[in-house]
């Protein structure tokens, strides 16, 4: 089996090792799957995402993306990755359109293609009507969608959405997941972090992270089966006991 993202004993320590944000993580993500990466606040999800995108340097361990070492091939691999970081990470004083176009240019997408692609992405994300608006005038959920649009504009192979659906209303969230499925059909790999457990049920596979270590992994059905639980939330609670929050 070919893995599109693979981490090997990945570690990220802060404050001279006092804080072990990620502590020996072994992830194997298959090409074309939707992988839900779940864990409590502070369990190391964002830190992992930022290392996979090449923004953070690991303290030790390896990350392979498309079979290449991320740290060594950061510049080349960056073209194949799209990320929507946890905070919105868009220019609030620019309009929706200007943000999306700016990032399309960073990825070298040709103007005409970018504009066509932007039109369809903004329509799906229901931002088409607000496209001329400055981002600072949009609601939190809309800003989140602008951030996702910026991650999609260069049609990357791998998409990393850090808490993509936080602040998005239930109707839209359902639509989001439909859209995520269509991206998967399109051959793209999605890694979605969340601490909302019912979200994870819609993923192909789930990885549970705790204190920077992967403690369980599998399809939603397999996990529920293994722990004899009704929901993923129950699995999560069983695994983490009472100390679920704030690792």
């Amino acid at each position: 089996m070919k893995y599109i993202v693979e981490t090997e004993n990945l570690m990220k320590h802060y404050e001279k090792g006092k804080i072990k944000a990620v502590n020996g993580l072994n992830l194997k993500i298959k090409e074309g799957e939707i992988y839900a990466f779940i864990g409590a606040n502070g369990s190391g999800k964002s830190t992992t995402i930022n290392m996979i995108t090449g923004v953070l340097k690991p303290t030790s361990g390896h990350i392979k993306v498309m079979g290449y070492d991320m740290v060594k091939n950061r510049h080349k691999l960056s073209q194949y990755i799209g990320v929507a970081p946890q905070d919105y990470s868009v220019y609030t004083d620019l309009s929706v359109e200007e943000n999306v176009m700016f990032f399309s240019r960073m990825y070298g997408v040709k103007g005409k293609i970018a504009r066509e692609r932007m039109k369809s992405i903004l329509t799906i994300l229901r931002l088409e009507e607000r496209r001329k608006e400055r981002v600072k005038n949009l609601s939190g959920g809309m800003k989140r969608r602008v951030s996702i649009a910026c991650a999609l504009i260069h049609n990357p192979k791998i998409l990393l959405f850090d808490e993509a659906t936080v602040g998005v209303d239930p109707v839209l969230r359902r639509d989001f997941w439909e859209y995520f499925r269509s991206l998967k059909e399109n051959g793209q790999t999605l890694i979605i972090t969340s601490h909302v457990m019912d979200e994870a049920e819609r993923a192909d596979r789930i990885g549970l992270i705790r204190a920077g270590v992967l403690i369980e992994e599998g399809t939603p059905a397999a996990l529920k089966n293994k722990y004899n639980a009704q929901t993923i939330e129950d699995v999560f609670l069983t695994l983490s006991g009472d100390e679920a929050v704030d690792e």
């Binding site: 930022n50 923004v55 960056s78 194949y80 970081p85 919105y88 004083d93 200007e98 960073m106 070298g108």
Partner: protein, 384 residues
């Protein structure tokens, strides 16, 4: 088998260009910064125009005492030496004994002296003759840099008092010849070059710093770092955008100074624009370098004065470098604004052309290169 990776190019002019235009677009939309660009030069010019015209101390002057003296009732008398001694005791000036003509050359080349005084051969004899009611004309030659009113006031004050100390003789003429074609200026005229220096230091630095750190504040830095944009492209993109801003600001300051406040520009105005632009760039580079160490807007705003105040104190803006204590003079060499003010004053007040300002331009060039190098070295493709 892994698929072969495309290369996004080690340096992309397009990516750099789009970073620049994005920064400029954000810049133009920020009304606060825009207001600051326009209001601050006017305010600073108003304030300093009035403040920069007091008296100063330790102004370096050259005195040549050619007085041969005389013998009166067996005592030798030399009024020239007396005059030189009183000048030497006056704290407003700092006397070096030397040659009058050599002094003039020093002044013309702005070598640190502001006046050269010649006490004539027959000075004592003429005074004695005058005391005997003979019709003689006693004249001291004074070659003086009048471009700084405060300095001229100190020199003339010291000479006047020294003459009075010669037992109240008030019949001595001072033949004052102004250096630089006799140019003498108002407080505001003289303030404009310094204020240009100050505005370009403070405003360009602060605005550039705020612009450069905005990337980090919005969290967009994370996303940008994950794109093919390299640190080098980013630095050049920012430099290009902010350099344009520095140019606009330099022009604004000149337009305000010349048209609104009527400041004089004796030299070539385009040389002045060019030098303002070069100095603005020095500050842009410094800001981009410093932005690596600044985490938020508050720190940026604190960093502005941290650079601007020592610059004001040590660059010769408030007190001429020549009349500072030696330690301060030593440090003033390491302040870019020292050279900028030198250049601005040279062009505006003394009508200097480029060839008289080469060392100063060289100094600014070196600062620019160092700061730019630091910006490249300190910008990273990843976070820690």
């Amino acid at each position: 088998m892994s698929e072969k990776l495309k290369s996004p190019g080690m340096f992309s002019v397009r990516r750099t260009f789009y970073v620049s235009t994005r920064v400029l677009r954000q810049f133009v939309r920020d009304r606060r910064t825009f207001g600051m660009m326009i209001m601050m030069p006017i305010l600073i010019m108003l304030i300093f125009g009035f403040a920069l015209s007091g008296e100063v101390t330790n102004v370096p002057i050259i005195v040549q005492n050619s007085d041969q003296g005389a013998t009166v009732f067996g005592n030798s008398v030399n009024f020239g030496s007396k005059l030189t001694d009183s000048l030497g005791k006056d704290s407003r000036v700092s006397v070096t004994l030397g040659d009058y003509q050599a002094g003039i050359t020093e002044i013309d080349n702005a070598k640190g002296y502001f006046a050269s005084i010649l006490i004539p051969k027959n000075f004592t004899n003429e005074i004695l003759a005058k005391l005997n009611k003979q019709p003689v004309n006693i004249t001291i030659n004074l070659y003086i840099d009048k471009t700084k009113p405060a300095i001229r006031a100190s020199i003339l004050g010291a000479i006047g008092d020294a003459i009075k100390s010669l037992s109240g003789q008030s019949f001595i003429n001072v033949d004052e010849i102004g250096a630089f074609g006799g140019a003498s200026y108002s407080g505001l005229d003289v303030a404009v070059p310094s204020v240009m220096g100050l505005v370009l230091t403070f405003l360009v630095l602060l605005v550039s710093l705020l612009t450069a750190i905005r990337e980090d504040l919005g969290g967009t830095k994370f996303r940008l770092l994950s794109t093919p944009l390299t640190a080098r492209e980013k630095v050049i993109g920012y430099v290009a955008a902010l350099t344009l801003f520095a140019l606009v600001e330099a022009m604004l300051v000149l337009v305000f100074g010349v048209y609104l406040f009527g400041a004089t520009v004796k030299g070539n105005i385009w040389l002045l624009v060019f030098s303002a632009f070069i100095y603005g760039m020095v500050n842009v580079f410094l800001a981009i370098f410093l932005s690596n160490f600044v985490e938020n807007e508050l720190q940026a705003v604190q960093m502005g004065p941290l650079i601007a105040f020592p610059s004001m104190a040590l660059s010769g803006m408030l007190v001429p470098v020549e009349s500072m204590p030696p330690v301060a003079q030593f440090f003033s060499q390491f302040i870019p604004m020292t050279y900028a003010i030198n250049i601005f004053e040279g062009i505006m007040l003394k009508g200097f052309s480029f060839d008289k300002l080469v060392p100063q331009f060289q100094a600014l060039g070196i600062f620019a290169l160092i700061f730019l190098l630091f910006s490249f070295l300190s910008s990273r493709d990843t976070m820690k």
